[in-house]
Amino acid sequence: MNKIEKVKKIIINKPLKLDCGKTISNFPLAYETYGLLNEKKDNAILAFHALTGDQFASGINPVTNKEGWWNYALGPGKAIDTNKYFVICANVIGGCMGSYGPNSINPETNEPFGTNFPVITINDMVNAQYHLLEFFKIEKLFSVVGGSMGGMQVLQFVSNFPNKSHTAIPIACTASHSAQNIALNELGRQSIMADHNWSNGFYEKDKKLPDKGLAVARMAAHITYLSKKGLQEKFGRKLQERDSLKFSFDADFQIESYLRYQGSVFVDRFDANSYLYITRAMDYFDLIKQFDGNLSKAFEKSKTKFFIISFTSDWLYPTPENREIVIALNAIGNDVGFAEITSDKGHDSFLLDVPDFLNAVKNFLNNSYNKFNEKRI
């Protein structure tokens, strides 16, 4: 936990009124940056992470010693080229990598907040991260970008701050969290809550963590990030280090062993209460309802140039949900491009080496950046 104390943070002094009605102030927001901010301060990109991501998008995460979650897309010479752009990525509030979350100490009790932490929303996350622009004295971002929950933050950011980013790339996301996705999140939450160690969220007291519940939540979620075809091709019915079925409940199949492994490594880096809070924030996300059923209104005041990307095998945030955002933008004549990328890798495609996706992001960013510079000259 000491390593987490060393991550970069800003303290946000200004009170932030949350959607739940509570106000928070003097709270930490952990962040990391990649590349250099140029003199004109026109090359800044704010990248938003997904459910279990953090500020360590690229390079080696100093807390887990593992590769950053967006290593394929973000870094020197990559699609989001940090030789060219200055990328900021913050840990969302409610998270567990140094930002204000259920792990933070409640000054009233000197214990972690646990489930006394206020319920937060995508809107709250974005409003907190907006302070990074002031901190770095950036008048206008070149781009906001993110996949999955990161994409939801992109949409909310442009809606809240219509003229604070030249471009926006929401990837594999939705403007309104579907019943299926709420159901899947609830499955994860119930799994955590069913773990005896969870103790209504106050598990830090006796240091017995709800690891089993969190691992099962991760296993269930992990299946939803892949596609049926991808799973079949990678695992099929292959057996795990054995020649025949053992007629027991051991992990006979490779897919079982793989999921158990994914669950077990996840609990080392993620907090069960954060999982509850962040999945709740996703469930509450409904930008369409925020604008009385008319998504176009969310972007009416914005001149931001959008590029929306979905993946063929993503059944969690399928193409029609992404296309709905395209339609809303076209309906008001905003500048929007859209591509559906062919991939068997499911929802996880945005995190993986999918060349068509990475090329599209790279070309969109570089061409847009060149155009803005031409116009300025």
Binding site: K305, V326, I327, A331, G337, F338, A360, N367
Partner: protein, 184 residues
């Protein structure tokens, strides 16, 4: 650059707002954006072509013209371009109606089935014509609704669509391509 592109581009007014329906690899959009107006975007069904457009820095929406034009409001573009794809639609009449709803004007080009080489091919050989503009055999052509320049003119007259053809060469026998600037 194709001669056709030049003619189309010359029909577009400077700094107008343009949608290229079935924009292909974006060559026409690129030409128009560099020379006429940069307020141009495309709709394209082929993933490969969508990637090519993005490489060129063009705004493109992946989609199907027969389904996805309805998302654009009435008169949201000054010009809507449909270059040599009308004959490939299931319902060309509906596509033309949609073009003239979302565009103040539409520029439509068609491979002319009344072109003399096409006529002679059918007359003398007795088989479906294969030419430079119609390179496929009958069994693998994407073209479902071939027409001649005269057919298209009759169609417009019947639907009370105004053809502004002043700078067009639309002779039914001698043109391989028909290029029309139309409005409702």
């Amino acid at each position: 650059m194709k001669k056709e592109f030049n003619i189309i581009a010359n029909l577009v007014e400077k700094n107008s707002k343009v949608l290229d329906v079935g924009c292909g690899d974006g060559e026409l959009m690129k030409y128009i954006s560099q020379n006429i107006t940069d307020n141009i975007r495309g709709l394209e069904i082929s993933k490969n072509n969508v990637q090519k457009c993005i490489e060129k820095g063009l705004t493109v929406v992946e989609g199907n013209a027969e389904k996805d034009l309805k998302q654009f409001p009435r008169s949201s573009f000054d010009y809507v371009i449909l270059s040599q794809t009308l004959q490939a639609f299931l319902d060309p009449e509906n596509v033309i109606d949609e073009l003239l709803r979302i565009g103040k004007k539409a520029i439509v080009t068609i491979p002319n089935f009344g072109y003399w080489k096409v006529r002679i091919h059918l007359l003398l050989q007795g088989t479906m014509p294969v030419t430079k503009n119609l390179p496929n055999e009958w069994y693998n052509t994407p073209n479902l609704h071939m027409c001649t320049i005269k057919d298209f003119v009759n169609f417009c007259n019947k639907k009370k669509i105004k053809i502004n053809s002043s700078n067009l060469n639309i002779k039914n026998i001698f043109s391989e391509l028909g290029i029309f600037l139309i409005e409702k």
